[in-house]
Symmetry: C2
Subunit: 457 residues, 2 copies
């Protein structure tokens, strides 16, 4: 009898081609124009799960992207249940953003697949689908019950999944929640994330004159909305890199000496940071190391800015309006709604009376999450890495956010295992995102081991 | 025999339709993608002039938009010669900028033609073409020799016309230069402009990380180029609305009491300013009236800004770069190249070391122009307005710029008459630009009178 691991190795080529099919579907959740493609992606997954013998369906809600739910309960009521979370939606991507290839046409090069969503999160999520397939095809049954909950709004802060999780604890009953949506610095040093930042965000528009005006005829008499917006943004940080919003840090728990030592153990060295970012000099909140700034301190970033004429050439106008998008990352004990309100108040306070500020959109808020590392489930994960990946994992705080993690913890009461199978250098959210085929394959082996380890607990 | 004025009235409908044909050609000079359309517009004008009996041709130069030159020298060597300057190129325009109709499909409503270029400058320039036609068709000859010099780079700061004018004084020999490319506040109060601001400009790009980064993974450790750009822009003006670039005002001649009194005579009142701009409160350099800020003081405006993700929704990135376009208006005695260098130096000085600033484009520079109002030619213009428009003009400083005016004055030694036939509320450079058909027709009558008045001097 072929083992699940042998099956996975033999079918590695098929698995990769299936992943490419999934990647080709441009499931950009933040832009309503892509809604049909997002839906098609969800339907593709339901069909795929069904083909593997799982009971799969869409969880729908008017005006929201569907959630894919799939389960296999053949291990029986006495067996453990693993809830696997992932997301099938992706960040926006356009060739003009600096892609060398078409973002939604996967290209294989140097052992990597280049395409939007390759690592975040299609490739990482698909690892678990293929691990389940390998076991089912070789043993006819899984060692544990499995529930897949794959959402389509992770990249757009949608609230569909939170509403569903909060209102359906019985359907989602499980013993552990497994998530692969993160990265490590080096393939030889796998990482289990033990803290995630929360996030919220907003879009502001500054309005000035009623329409774009001739900059010669009116320039110098009208408060230019681009200038006003720049002045507002310039005041959001002080010279020490601290966010100036009053109260922004009030609820942040000071790092203990023990926590700082733990962070220091996997401190991001400046050379690696330089290689990953391509930036010349670090920046940020004075008094904190790079890893502390990224994993343990809240931040405020301008993620987009636009106004006036920004195509080729010049257009001599005082523009009617200017827009900025702001992303805020939170740490444990900060409440997204409270912080968002503080930021909005401060933005209004900074706005000069000659222009008008409107909050034109808000991103859904999510709290930060801390993970207890001293659990049997965590031991199962460590064992799985040792056998499947070939190295023991290190624990690390992650700067990014996975919106639903705090609901899994608080509403479902589950231990969450953040088994990231990506590399930080995969270029997620940027152009030329890619995923290592070797990591995809090592991930499948690790995921098979994890299910067996959970069964053996 | 029909008079030229009667002919113009009888053919008013034809003239208007011809103007619409000219407007339909999207001659956007700043964007290279429109180069073929710009050329087609120039060719349309050559054919039109030829049809009227003028000797017309394109003046070409590799990589530049052609100049249209047309002349009629039948008045003889002893007669006076009028050089009429205008431009056939237009500002960019896209429906999405807030246009209620297609920008390049003229729509007639409430006695106005709505379309890009309707007033700036196709409608105003075409007035003189039709005035010449009316005289030629009714008298068989003009009272003066006429040279038309219609350029295609006025809106993009191109240097083709300046190079041509500077190197071809003999071909352009004339007694006066007539330009209609400006406006008045009210139709009952025609304006002759006696000062134009100069202009220059530049585009800057601030570079940060090598590519867009995940804002959760790296936000808080990288100097965000959008933040850096906002901080740079915020420092370009002080709280009193003054430009902070060192040396920016050094060469500005202080306004004399007499000049201030002259400006005060046509002072823009706040209610009119409010109606024209739709802005709530005036802004600008402390210590100067609205009209002084617009006509007699240099200014610096941000005309465009862009970076990161600014479509619908959110994208959680630290962007790789950020772009801004800056327009600078100058007054008499300021040298464009000198001011541009001061601004560039200051921008570099303001740039934090963690990001990199590049000057990614420069707009052509042009000096400001003052007009001597005590000349016989100016008297001819005043008389023409009295008869053709039905009111005597007032003199006024204009905030806008017409690049070539200073060359006409200094290289050709010509008195320049700035006979603006537009309204400030025409919405030039913004969406829904329009031109009053009544002003088009009154303009033709005034232009016919001007040629006769010059001949009678």
């Amino acid at each position: 009898m072929t083992t699940a691991h042998a099956y996975a190795r033999e079918h590695a080529g098929d698995f990769k081609e299936q992943l490419k099919d999934l990647i080709r579907l441009p499931s950009v959740s933040t832009d309503p124009a892509y809604a049909p493609q997002v839906r098609r992606t969800a339907e593709w997954l339901v069909a795929h799960f069904t083909g593997l013998g799982l009971a799969a369906r869409l969880i729908e809600k008017e005006g929201r992207h569907p959630i894919v739910f799939a389960e296999w309960n053949g291990a029986g009521a006495a067996a453990r249940t693993v809830l696997i979370y992932g997301h099938y939606d992706v960040q926006p991507a356009q060739k003009a953003d600096g892609w060398l290839t078409e973002p939604f046409e996967p290209v294989e090069q140097n052992g990597r697949i280049y395409a939007r969503g390759a690592t975040d999160d299609k490739g990482q999520m698909f690892i678990h689908v293929k691990a389940v397939e390998a076991i089912l095809k070789t043993r006819g049954r899984l060692p544990v019950n499995v529930k897949f909950l794959i959402e389509g709004e992770e990249e757009s802060g949608g609230e569909h999944i939170a509403q569903y999780v909060n209102s359906h604890p019985p359907e989602l009953r499980a013993d552990v929640c497994l998530i692969s949506d993160g990265g490590m610095t080096r393939i030889e040093e796998p990482v289990i994330v033990n803290a995630l930042r929360g996030a919220t965000g907003l879009e502001i528009t500054v309005y000035g004159p009623k329409a774009d005006l001739h900059s010669g005829m009116y320039g110098g008499s009208v408060y230019n909305p681009l200038q006003a917006l720049a002045e507002i943004i310039a005041r959001l940080h002080d010279d020490a890199g601290r966010v100036t919003v009053p109260g922004f840090y009030d609820d942040v728990l000071p790092l203990t000496a023990e926590e700082r030592a733990e962070i220091a153990a996997t401190e991001l060295d400046e050379a690696t940071w330089r290689a990953e970012t391509g930036a010349s000099l670090p920046w940020g909140e004075a008094g904190y190391s790079l890893s502390e700034r990224l994993g343990a301190r809240p931040t405020l970033e301008i993620t987009g800015l636009a106004g006036g004429y920004h195509e080729r050439g010049f257009k001599n106008i005082v523009p009617a309006k200017a827009l900025a998008k702001i992303s805020i990352r939170l740490v444990a004990n900060q409440q997204p709604a409270k912080i968002l309100a503080l930021v909005e108040d401060y933005l209004r306070q900074l706005t000069p009376p000659a222009v008008r500020l409107e909050i034109t959109a808000r991103a859904g808020g999510m709290g930060a999450a801390l993970v207890n590392t001293a659990t049997p489930m965590m031991q199962a994960a460590i064992n799985a890495y040792r056998q499947g990946w070939g190295a023991a994992p290190v624990f690390k705080r992650e700067g990014g956010s996975i919106p639903i993690v705090s609901s899994f913890q608080s509403v479902l009461g589950l231990p969450v295992i953040l088994m990231g199978f990506g590399l930080n250098s995969d270029g997620l959210h940027g152009p030329n995102e890619s995923y290592s085929i070797e990591m995809f394959e090592r991930g499948i082996a690790t995921a098979i081991h994890f299910l067996d380890e959970v069964a053996a607990l």
